[in-house]
Symmetry: C2
Subunit: 249 residues, 2 copies
DNA sequence: CAGATAATTTAACATTTATTATGATTTCCG
DNA sequence: CGGAAATCATAATAAATGTTAAATTATCTG
């Protein structure tokens, strides 16, 4: 883990992604709080279940998992995945104590938001507070979707749906839909996120490949047939509450 | 569905349950907004996915499920269950559009909170706004637990954990731990909440009975061995953020 | 209370997924 | 580049859960 003190000029441009729910004016207010950045290597545990946090993280680059000890399996279970432009643990601001670990899955860059100045900022800006609230509620909506996916879908549909979500959230994060996207998750990560074994994930990915939907290989997700993938995974993006489609004055 | 206009004297006493996160003073401020009550019969759909809501509900009595169309099964999937003293769809206040149905599972009494007066109240009270935020975050924590439970636990543990949560949340709702509690869920409801079939739920309940953990019958949950039930279900209540153990000044 | 309806139990069987193990491939690092 | 360590693929087998259907019990309604 390394820490670097950056000039907040670096933050003067609002990153795209979920944080886009904030207006430019609102971004201009938080940016000054985001001066301290950190970097994590793949597999680092950033915070632990039970920790009392006095700050939250905004993910700038990479992928982060929120993870809990698994019921009976050897591995952990991912209860959430965070993409660039998303707050990782904003819920720690009102909730204080974490109910899950926070783990970096790739090389990761984050900006730190201390709760104290954030509180002062929010005290003076009700609209802004409501936006942050909203962003944690989008998180919750995604949780609900994960409950449905992992409870009610078979392996093939489940993995297809998971990859569709990955694609959609990457599109939100980078503001552009791509046919080929960087995919740094291992099959064991997909397993942890979908509640399957990595062996079965391997089988399932082969099936998706043979269906002509997509190929996961070499750190890349190649989408051959997005529509087909969505169909197999019964994917509808409404639950993501993507910023542009949701903006209210 | 019936509507009755009540004198808000009826609301002058703060119900126990999750709403206990609010201080007495805070309760005194919302109570005047809770003058309109409604009643629902079992199985009524209270609101639908996609609905734009201008109000939220506080559950006074009964059980409510938040439900989504199931991936591939015939039935629905429950993504959340609400107990008395909990807000049912407070997230609709910042989020506006619902991503799930709201369904009454039993005879149900709710109080309606219109968003407009709530907004005005919150504008003038930052602390209170933060408390409501917190309550939706407890919801999210429970969602995460459901993801883990339905992704990583086998049927026996999964049902045991579900029943443990039911017990714990009823204890929070009524402020007292009981050996026998009213249980109005059918086995198909347990199935919808745990991602199992009702046939398998039946088998699993028998197993729990034979283990000497608990008996579900005749609208009643009889807990023979709470400790044993918790052990089988690997249940730890921290994720519920029960009010009394969490109060900050 | 009787009949109708809904909920539960059970069994036989089918399917899905997990488990274990081994070999192939890729990635990492010196 | 070359060897070690991860990661991935595949197969054989086992275990868990789903499916269907029928019998039983409980609940509701008149």
């Amino acid at each position: 883990m390394t820490t670097e003190q950056l000039n907040y000029n670096d933050m003067s441009v609002k990153p795209s992604g979920m944080v886009d729910h904030l207006s430019d004016a609102q971004w201009a207010k938080v940016a000054p709080l985001l001066t301290q950045h950190m970097h994590f290597a793949p597999g680092e545990v950033i915070s632990r279940r039970g920790d009392l946090l006095d700050h939250s993280l905004l993910l700038l680059d990479g992928l982060i998992a929120r993870s809990v000890p698994s019921g009976q399996r050897a591995r952990n279970t991912f209860v959430a995945l965070q993409f660039p432009g998303e707050f990782v643990d904003l819920h720690a601001f009102p909730l204080k104590r974490l109910d899950h670990d926070v783990v970096s899955l790739t090389d990761t860059r984050v900006a730190i938001v201390a709760h104290e100045p954030l509180r002062e900022l929010l005290n003076g800006d009700v609209e802004f507070a409501r936006k942050l609230w909203l962003m944690t509620l989008v998180d919750a909506s995604i949780h609900r979707h994960w409950v449905m996916r992992n409870s009610a879908m078979r392996a093939l549909a489940r993995v297809a749906n998971f990859l569709s979500e990955f694609d959609a959230r990457m599109s939100i994060a980078y503001g552009t839909e791509r046919q080929s996207l960087p995919f740094s998750l291992r099959q064991t990560d997909i397993a942890d996120a979908t509640g399957l074994t990595s062996v079965h994930v391997s089988r399932t990915l082969r099936e998706l490949r043979e269906h002509g939907c997509c190929t996961v290989a070499g750190g890349e997700l190649l989408i051959h047939d997005r529509k087909g993938l969505h169909k197999v995974g019964m994917f509808e993006a409404a639950y993501l509450y993507a910023p542009q489609s949701e903006m209210a004055p």
